[in-house]
Symmetry: C2
Subunit: 109 residues, 2 copies
């Protein structure tokens, strides 16, 4: 029981640049109403609202109604999955950096 509403894939949710910017905006404030978010983007309210719905389905934002506005707040926890996924591959670019370093050292001789 419980868990996020629609169970949207977090990787999918962060694939769109608009949604990543929404995440960033929400990270910089406690709570932001839809109309205030909308003015930050070159698109209509409906579009922004749809993006927020997708973020909500991925569990990345929460919303509550206050008066006539709907305020959104970030829930960054699901991003941990992304962080963990990439962590597995850090060894590869570390390996590459080492290889590059060796090459540079060889060239210096």
């Amino acid at each position: 029981m419980s868990e996020n509403n629609q169970g949207r894939d977090v990787f999918d949710a962060i694939a769109d640049p608009t949604r990543r910017r929404l995440i960033r905006l929400l990270a910089e404030a406690e709570e932001i109403p839809l109309h205030e978010l909308t003015v930050q983007f070159p698109m209509g309210r409906t579009a922004v609202s749809k993006h927020l719905t997708i973020l909500k389905e991925a569990g990345l934002v929460l919303d509550r109604k206050v008066g006539r506005e709907t305020r959104f707040r970030l829930n960054a926890a699901p991003l941990q999955e992304i962080h963990d996924w990439t962590a597995y591959y850090t060894k590869f670019w570390r390996a590459n950096m080492l290889r590059l370093q060796h090459l540079l050292e060889e060239e210096e001789e």
Copy 2:
């Protein structure tokens, strides 16, 4: 000059589960030809090839022709961008964990 061919967004490239599995498979071997990758998925060669093209455009895989086969290898470096992006948000789930921890401690009393 140089840089990746088409400049596809890395976030976009890893959004698809098939492509994430391709990345994983390539991480576990040095080099894998297309037909060998294809048998791992419930879809045709053409589809897998398209996914690999997208990964290539994002700079995540390299390929070379050997005889009649095309062999693919992983280049994990671009994943660093994802890793860095998520790193910014670690403070949020750390904060949440702390809050949860406090709640649990309160309940124990």
